[in-house]
Every structure is written in C-alpha cells, then in structure tokens.
C-alpha cells in the first residue's frame, strides 16, 4: 500500500512537480494470456456480476492475484482495472503478492479479542518481525488478521492454511507456528 499513515500532515503550499519524462512502454498485454488463466477468463465471459468469482478462481489456482493477471481480466472481461484493484484491496482474502508457505490468520472477532487475540497478534508481530499482511523474508509465513471465523467457542483462534487452532495464547501460537512444516525444526 502506497500511503503512509505515520507521515505528518503537511498543509503548506507545494512546489511544482519535477517530472519523469514520458516514455512509451509498449502494450503490457501484447502476448495472449497463459492457457490456465485464459480458461478461467473464458468461462466467465459476459457475466456482469462475475468479477469476484473470477478473482477467487484465479487466486485459488495461482495462490495470489498478479498485476498482469488482473490486467488480462480487465481487458478480456471489460471490468475497469481501477475497480478490480478496489475490490481486491477491499477484501482481506485477496492477495496481490505471493503468500508465504503458510498463511497465518489471527482472528480479531469479539470473542477472540476478549480472549486475548490482540496479545497474540502483538507477540507474533514482534517475534516474526513482520507486519500484518507481510511475509517473513524466508517466505515461510504470511501474517494476516480476520474479522471472525465463526469458531467463537474456541476463542482465541488462529487459522493456518485450512487448519483452525483454538484456545490459543501467545506462547501456544508461537509453538504452533514453529511446528509447521518447512521450518528449522522440520525433520520430515
């Protein structure tokens, strides 16, 4: 995301911009889309309300939504690219960059909050040294939040991939993540 919430507000008069010279960069979509993408797009041609379905299918297939893929969707299905970007950035589930090996979602619903999910999140941020929606440099973990997963009886909940872990504490959460495959402790 390209805006910075920590920057101070500057209300003073602004200088005129120093501009980059315009350079023609060619048509980014001169090549046809790859067959797997093309197959998904062609199944939804003409569906004026099919955007989210298409995006879901692409993310399920490729793991995330790449800029080029979204440009093909815009061109071939007739959705404005700015609108697609709006949808993708609105829904937490959509990813614009490849996720880590494991997607870790800390539930921030009411029941989980009451049961200390903020402490879990703070601890993970500190220990993993990444922010929310970021991936560890080794590509192993992506940290995310989710508003409620509907498993309130198990609060506080952390979801890893498609597995749900209940009654989590900060320590328990860290242990769970350490035990995941692909890490230092992984012998298999």
């Amino acid at each position: 995301m390209s805006f910075d919430s920590s920057a101070p507000a500057d209300a003073g008069p602004r200088e005129r911009p120093r501009l980059r010279k315009f350079a023609y960069r060619g048509d980014p979509l001169a090549e046809p889309p790859p067959p797997e993408l093309s197959e998904i797009i062609s199944r939804h041609r003409g569906e004026r309300d099919g955007l989210i379905t298409v995006l879901e299918e692409i993310q399920r297939r490729f793991g995330y939504l790449g800029e080029r893929q979204l440009r093909y969707v815009a061109r071939d299905l007739g959705f404005p690219l700015a609108r697609i970007y709006g949808v993708v950035t609105f829904y937490n589930w959509f990813l614009l960059t490849p996720p880590g090996l494991h997607q870790v979602k800390v539930c921030r619903g009411t029941a989980c909050h009451v049961n200390g999910s903020a402490l879990i999140l703070d601890r993970l941020i500190a220990e993993l040294a990444i922010g929310v929606d970021e991936t560890t440099p080794d590509g192993r973990l992506t940290l995310q939040t989710v508003a409620c997963v509907g498993a309130c009886s198990l609060a506080a909940v952390v979801v890893v991939g498609s597995d749900t872990y209940g009654r989590m504490s900060p320590e328990e959460a860290l242990r769970t993540l350490a035990a995941l495959p692909g890490g230092d402790g992984d012998s298999g």
Partner: protein, 945 residues
C-alpha cells in the same frame, strides 16, 4: 402540476426528480458534499439529510424521489446537530489548515464547517491519508484533503467513461486510487481534469495553480475554447494578468462544466517565447525592397526538416512597412495577372467576423472567388452531401440531446479523442441504457462502450451502409409516413439498395452479415441496449454522429448522402435526439463556412453563380459587381500555384505545410509564388516559406464570435493581452484591405474600417440570412443557434422539424465505389490518418503546451502485430512508412487498435508528417476533398535504428 413543500415554500418538480433537485431548482439550498447535478446520487456524505413529514428519521434529499404533496424541512435543530457531527467527523481526518490552503474560499467543507461552527474536531484528529501524488504536469492529488466524497470516481465513470480511478483499501486505508496505486499515466486517465472540476476541497488541484495564491485573489474571464468544434465555455482564473488555470463553469450551454485535456490545460501556448510579436519580411524581399543592404538567398531546406521554428531568415519591420509591402505586391499581381492570380486561405480558427472580412477582401477588394479554408479538407463533403439531401450542410441536432438518444450510430469519428466533450455525451447516453453502434476499422476508445462494433476494411463502409438500408426495407423497419410526407426519390433508393444484400456487403467489407443485420435493426428501431431501462413506446430515437472517416474520402459526398438516406429511411430526423450530425473539427470551421470563406458561395451559402443573390450582396457591400465563377479550392490553389496561374497567396491562420495532402507538392507550390503572406500566431512551417509574416492575436486575446459544430454562435472575450505588436486578424485584414484598395484606385468602395467586431457582425448579419437576427448585443452571457433570421428570433436548435430546408428530403441512390488507391504488392497496407487526444491539428499550439507535449512528445504510428512481424518492425522502435508520394520515419506502436492491413498515423507532427504520404490526386468529384483516410503504403524496419 405536481409540487412538494420545502421549508414552507411550494416548489414544482419534473417527473423522476429528487427532493434535492426540486429544492435547488426552487432556489432552496441544501448542504451537500457528494452531490453533483450531473452525477447519480450516492448518498455518501449524509449532509443533505432532511425531515420529511410522515417519515420517522431524516433521509438524504439527494436520493429521495419527490412525491406529490410531500412536506420537507431542510433546517431544524435535529438536522443541524447531525450536520455538525458529520462535519466534526470529516475534519477529524482533514487538516483545518485553511489559512495556508490553496482552496481557501473555494472549499465546500470549509463553507459547511463555518456554517455549523466547527473550528476543530472534538474527536482525536488523525489524517490517515497523507500521500501526495504529483506524477504528472496536469494536476496533483493531495490525499490529506480528500474527504472520500467519491465525486472524482463517479465523474470518471459516469461522464468521462474511462474509470481511471476507484476506491481502494478499506477502513482508514480507504483512498481514491489508480490501479495498483501507480502513476496516472499508467492508468486509463485522459487528463481531462473533470475530477479536479468536481472536487469540493483542495485534494485535486491544477499543477499551474500551485503556489499562485488564494482563489479570492484571482480575476476571472469566460470565453470559448479555441480548439475543436465543440465550443466549450471555459473560465480562466488570472493573477496579475497571467492565466493561473482554466476550468469549466456550471451552465455553459455545450459542456456544462466539463472540459477535455486540451481545453483545460492547453492554454499555455499563449505565452510561448515562439509567439510572433512583430511583422517580419523575408530577407531576400527586404533586400529587394531596399529595407536592408545585405543580400540574402532563400535556402531550399524544407521547414519540415528544421529542428525548431527559426525566424533568422526574416527582418522585423513596422506594421506600416509590412502592410505597405504586401499591398504593393498584391496590387501589382492583380494589375499584371488579374484578380484570379490571387488566392486566399481563411481560417477555421479565426472568428466569424474575421473570416467574413477576409472573404470580403478577396471578393470585393481583390475581385476573385479564390477563397477557401481547411473545411475543404474536413467537411466539404458534408456541406455538399447534406446540402443536396436536406438543403443544409450542418449538424441537425444539439450536442446536449445526444444523452437522450436511444441509439447512437458513430462512424468515422474517433469521438472520445477528437471531440472529447461530445464523447462524454455518448458515455452518458450509454450509461442511461442507449445502444451504441460503432462502424469503424479502428478499435477507437468508445468501442469499450459499444453494443455493436462493425469493423469494415478501410474504404469498404459504403457496402455496410447500403446493406443496412437493404435489411431495413426487407424487415419493414422503415418509416413509411416520414418517407411519404417528407421525402422524394425513395423509389430509386429502394431499387438501388435491393442490389446490396448483407451477404454481399460481408464479402466486400469483412463485416459478418448477421452483425450488419443487427446494426440495421437496432438503428432503425432505436432499440435500447439489453439490460438498459426500457421505455414504453414504439420507435426509439436514433442519432448518427460522423466525422472525417466518412468525409475525407474520394467518394465522401456519396458516403454523407448514404448516411442521410439511412436517417430519412427511418424518419430519424427533425425530432429531439435524432438526426445526422457531422462533428466539425475546429473551433470555428462551421462559422468560417457560414460566412462564405468558400470559393463557390457567398455568406450564408448563397451560390456565387446566382446572379440575383450576387447582386444583392454586391449592393450591400457597395461594389458594382462581384466575380461570378466559383474560385479554386485548397488543393486546386496549390496546383494552380505550381502551374503559375496563382501568383500570390494570403494565408490567415492555416498551416497547409502540415495539414494538406502531399506536402512535397504543397512546398513546391508555395515556393513558386511571387508573394506568400502568412498571418499567424506562430512561425508555422507554412510561415517559414512566406515572404511576409504578420503576427496575429490568438483566440484568447480578442473578441468576436465562434460558431460551434451544432451551429451555436458564442461570444469570445479577451483573457490576456496579445504579445508585442500582434493584432487581431480582423484589424489586420481591414487595414490591408484599405491599403490594397488605395493602390488599386478603389477608395470609397466597400467598408473596411470597423471600430469593433460587433460592427462587423452587424454588416455580416445583413448579408447572411441565417445570422440576420444575431448581433453581439444578443450574445452577452447568451448564445444563439442559427438559423436566426430576425432580431427577435429564438434560434433553431433542431433543423428540419416540419420541413427540410430544401422542402423535401432527397434520397440519393449511392453507388458503391472503392477507394481511389488500392493496396497492391508494392504497397500492401492501408494508411489512415487522424488526431490523437492531446494534440490538435498541426500541433502549433498543443506542442507548445507543457503538459500536452509531456503526455505525447513525439509522433507515432499504430500497426497490428501481424503486419509488424511481417515487416520485422518492433514495438516502440522506429519504423519507415512509404507511399507513392514519399516516406516518413516514426515510432511504431504495435497494437490491436488497428486490424491487420491497416496503419494509423496522426498528422500533428512535422517530423514524420503524415501528409508526405497522402495523395492530392484522388479528390471527391463534388466536394473536391482529398482522400486523406485511405493511402496505400508499406512499412519497413529502418536499416539504421
């Protein structure tokens, strides 16, 4: 009448109106931040909450439909408390730094904060959006001031139709963004600045406005845009006599308050250091005239080859010397070779008054009908074709009605780039459910909005039009009552189109027969797009828009008549939101034609061959007679100059060295003249070949009138002073005419001296029937659409309502003719030329505009991937285009905007000038317009990269 009561006042409302609309129309102001009269209600800001009797809670007035008898309160303690809280929340995310803010005094949030007495937020203030985007020279987006009203997002969608921006993110991270938060130039943005126009705060500001002071300190002048023929009203903000920025203003008759990139940002050419500020005499002539002792020879290097416009070859002189020299030489040519050895090019970018005076000089001062202008190269075939069919060769219906149409047929017009503000009307029509049928070989930007896109091979569209008429008659979709009561010649047409079934047209044009049939049905019945809101009635309203893709053809007049036939067949004429609408390309090309800057007609399209009309005009001008044989057209003038029959030319505000076909011939012709006088605002490529250059004032520096493409006559106002000794064209023409008359011993003849443009208009009205009722006094803050035959006449926005100008509309069975030049083995591709969005005509103004030149600094050609591969041409790399006339080198852009077999080249550039390639041979037999849209070419990858 249906009414509602607002704050105790009874106001009427139109069907479907909202409470907001009814209240505003009734003069009652309701607080609002996200409402805009031209946009759909979004109900986002909640400031327009009103109390409605019988409703438990306040409701937003912007989205509330009026019901008869509704009782509404817009003020009250509860409402003001709510509004105060809303403003309080807004300013918790918006720095109230009004004392340093450039929108101070022009900010809606500031106004309402003052109204509810909010000086600071009662909530913790945190500005979450602090991004400052200044990635382009048109405008900046300063997110800290953004209140997320969404008006910029909606105007980009609903009016401009490009959707360059939308909301991105969620919660505190919500912001208005381009795709991937990238630079605007990487988005679909067309830099029209409509977002800046509707922004209620300082979030969007023109770049030229930065650090220029407070809104309240600016002077403001309104005038008419000097670029294309749409005729938008523009308001200029000025500080210390200099333009700070340009904006639209609500209520401008054509454009409402929206503009395109050229109108909003392309005004800085006026202060270019290249402006002509003194009369100039070429050094060889100056030597011969004894003005200098240094001999000098004109080099034979072409002005197309020179890097910059260099006036080294010229000697600055006084106006007296320059005009005296020109008058001497002109009089000598008239005396030695006769008046027809003189030819004049008037200008579609000068005012009606100036063009009127110019043609009067040629006809009554010199004595020749050799006067023409670049309308010859754009809509001569319209004037001829629609003139023959209807009796009047102009747009039949108003621009503002386009949005009301049920079906729009656009052919040979890249509306969104060449007439962007008319493009906005098309987008609005489509958003309201109209169907859009586009017949064009190129994938023009509006194809994104099209219901049907027919892509004929260049030059083969005539088969499509004939087949559409065939299908309409076969299907019984014609309008028999209209045909019987309003037209003649139907039987001949019906017989002719019987020969053109869609299957045949499909073979010739490459458009599938089923698509032709569907287009015919949709146009004939005015069928709305599927999913659009249906209207319960019979035949819908269909309107045809066309431009140079139809007219710049060797059979242009026939093509225009085919479109006229199509409209008459279905009765789509003389009613609102219908018609045949030629979109004219220059600010006053309609007016220049109207006032007689054409070789075959006097002002008001009165034929020079008509003895009675000629005598009447001669009497009004105070001359014994006027020349009776039609004069030379633009291309014929150049041929006559080469042949030595034309010896002197007077060119006012035209640049044939870029805009005319076959530039090699044009240069040869201009060089062979004994006298070439060019009157311009810049040392154009044509001016650099002149003997004398006269510096003129631009349209931003003078008054007078322009007539736009819908025949609307509008008054200009001077915004800035003309630089140096530059003078308005009407003053120059008048003084020159006086001097010529003196040398020919014709003093005491026609009037040449006028105190003002209003004086000229008064005389113009006497000899131009359509303008008889139009005087400057009626145009102050108003506009009139001709014909306006009498002083009290309200004007005629829609032509041919009860009868055609010529009585009955005349069908004309058009013959299917092929383009004059066909591709062959040596030249296998078809070149088509045209405009691009940010440049205009020969580029003299737009290429000197910092922002427009930044967006597109160099020329380029579009070529399909298949043809590029065959020729070994690479995307973004140089390419050579060769025709039988010449060759140009330009950048290749490989794109699917053009189909295989077609190359598109814009004609704005002297480097890679498109008209080195076009032909001046194949002229339309009636209109004498050259076939600029079809030339056979081949492309090559240059040996030297």
């Amino acid at each position: 009448m249906t009414t509602i009561t607002v704050d105790g006042r009874v106001v009427g409302f139109a069907p479907g109106a909202t409470v907001m609309e009814a209240a505003l129309a009734g003069g009652i102001d309701i607080p609002r931040l996200c409402h805009h009269p031209e946009l759909r209600p979004s109900g986002g800001c909640r400031l327009c909450l009103v109390e409605v009797e019988g409703m438990p809670k306040p409701v937003p007035a912007c989205g509330l439909a009026c019901r008869d008898g509704m009782v509404v309160a817009t003020v009250g303690d509860r409402l003001w408390a709510m509004r105060r809280e809303i403003i309080d929340l807004f300013v918790s995310e918006h720095p109230l730094a009004c004392s340093t803010c450039e929108a101070d005094g022009a900010c809606d949030l500031q106004r309402y904060a003052a109204a509810v007495g909010v000086t600071e937020s009662t909530h913790p203030t945190e500005v979450h959006r602090s991004l400052y985007q200044d990635d382009n020279p048109f405008f900046v987006r300063d997110h800290q001031y953004c209140i997320l009203c969404g008006k910029c997002v909606r105007v980009c969608d609903e009016v401009v139709g490009v959707n360059a921006i939308d909301f991105a993110g969620r919660g505190f991270e919500s912001h208005v963004a381009t795709p991937f938060d990238g630079d605007l130039i990487e988005s679909a943005c067309v830099f029209c600045g409509s977002c800046v126009q509707v922004c209620p705060t300082a979030a969007l500001r023109p770049v030229t406005r930065l650090r220029r002071g407070r809104e309240a300190e600016f002077a403001r002048v309104r005038t008419i845009c000097g670029y294309c023929g749409v005729g938008c009203g523009i308001e200029y903000a000025l500080a210390e006599g200099q333009i700070v920025y340009a904006a639209g203003y609500p209520g401008a008759p054509v454009n409402g308050e929206f503009l395109c990139a050229k109108g909003r940002s392309g005004w800085d050419f006026v202060s270019s250091p290249d402006r002509l500020t003194r009369p100039l005499v070429r050094r060889d002539l100056a030597y011969r005239a004894g003005l200098t002792t240094d001999p000098w020879e004109m080099p034979d290097t072409s002005p197309l080859g020179s890097r910059k416009a260099d006036t080294e070859a010229f000697l600055p002189v006084s106006w007296e010397v320059a005009l005296g020299l020109v008058a001497d030489r002109l009089a000598a040519v008239v005396t030695e070779h006769g008046p027809d050895a003189v030819a004049g090019l008037a200008s579609a970018r000068c005012t009606n008054e100036e063009n009127y005076l110019f043609q009067k000089l040629m006809r009554a001062g010199i004595g020749t009908n050799n006067v023409d202008h670049c309308a010859r190269l754009c809509h001569a075939s319209t004037v001829a074709g629609l003139g023959a069919a209807f009796g009047s060769g102009a747009m039949t219906n108003p621009i503002r009605e386009i949005r009301e149409a049920d079906c729009l047929l656009i052919t040979g017009s890249n509306t969104a780039e060449s007439h962007p503000v008319i493009g906005y009307e098309v987008v609005r029509a489509v958003k309201r459910g109209a169907s859009l049928v586009i017949i064009d070989p190129r994938r023009i930007p509006l194809v994104d909005h099209a219901t049907l896109w027919l892509q004929p091979r260049p030059g083969m569209d005539v088969f499509v039009f004939l087949a559409m008429m065939h299908v309409i008659l076969r299907g019984g979709w014609e309008d028999p009552a209209f045909i019987a009561e309003r037209t003649e010649g139907f039987e001949a047409l019906a017989a002719a189109v019987r020969e053109h079934p869609p299957e045949v047209a499909a073979l010739a044009s490459g458009v599938p027969a089923a698509l032709i049939e569907e287009a015919a049905r949709v146009y004939a019945l005015g069928a709305r797009a599927a999913g659009g809101d249906e209207r319960p009635r019979g035949r819908g309203r269909s309107s045809i828009l066309y431009a140079m893709g139809i007219t710049q053809r060797s059979n242009g007049t026939d093509l225009v008549r085919a479109l006229a036939d199509l409209a008459m067949l279905c009765g789509h004429l003389g009613k609102p939101a219908t018609g045949v609408n030629p979109l004219r390309g220059q600010s006053n090309v309609q007016g220049a034609c109207d006032v007689g800057a054409l070789p075959n007609v006097l002002p008001g399209y009165q034929p020079v061959a008509d003895a009675e009309k000629r005598a009447a005009v001669a009497a009004a001008w105070g001359v014994s007679h006027l020349p009776e044989s039609p004069g030379l057209t633009v291309v014929e003038m150049m041929r006559a100059a080469t042949a030595g029959r034309v010896r002197a030319m007077y060119v006012m505000g035209e640049n044939p060295m870029i805009s005319d076909p076959n530039l090699t011939h044009v240069e040869e012709a201009l060089r062979s003249l004994d006298l070439l006088v060019v009157q311009d605002i810049f040392p154009s490529e044509t001016a650099l070949l002149a003997h004398v250059i006269l510096p003129a004032a631009s349209s931003l520096e003078k008054d007078g009138t322009f007539t736009n493409t819908e025949r609307r006559v509008q008054l200009l106002a001077p915004v800035v002073p003309a630089p140096g000794q530059a003078r308005p064209d009407w003053e120059i023409v008048g003084r020159l005419a006086e001097a010529v008359a003196a040398r020919l011993g014709r003093e005491g003849g026609p009037r040449w001296r006028f105190g003002s443009t209003a004086d000229i208009m008064a005389e113009l009205g006497q000899v131009t029937p359509q303008y008889r009722g139009i005087g400057h006094e009626r145009l102050e803050g108003e506009s009139l659409v001709w014909p306006c035959p009498a002083p009290g006449h309200p004007g005629t926005p829609i032509l041919h309502t009860t009868a055609f100008t010529r009585g009955r509309g005349l069908f004309h069975p058009v013959r299917a003719a092929l383009p004059a030049e066909q591709p062959d083995d040596e030249y296998p591709l078809i070149l088509t030329t045209g405009r691009i969005l940010v440049h205009y005509h020969s580029g003299t103004m737009t290429r000197r505009s910092e922002s427009l030149a930044w967006r597109e600094p160099r020329g380029f050609a579009e070529v399909n991937a298949a043809d590029a591969a065959t020729a070994g041409v690479l995307d973004g790399k140089p390419m050579i285009i060769r025709s039988r006339r010449g060759e140009v080198r330009t950048q290749a852009r490989v794109t699917d905007r053009v189909p295989p077999g077609v190359v598109f080249l814009s004609f704005h550039w002297k480097e890679g000038a498109a008209n080195l390639l076009t032909s001046d041979e194949s002229l339309d037999p009636v209109a004498k317009i050259p076939e600029l849209k079809v030339s056979a070419v081949r492309i090559e990858r240059p040996a030297r990269p």
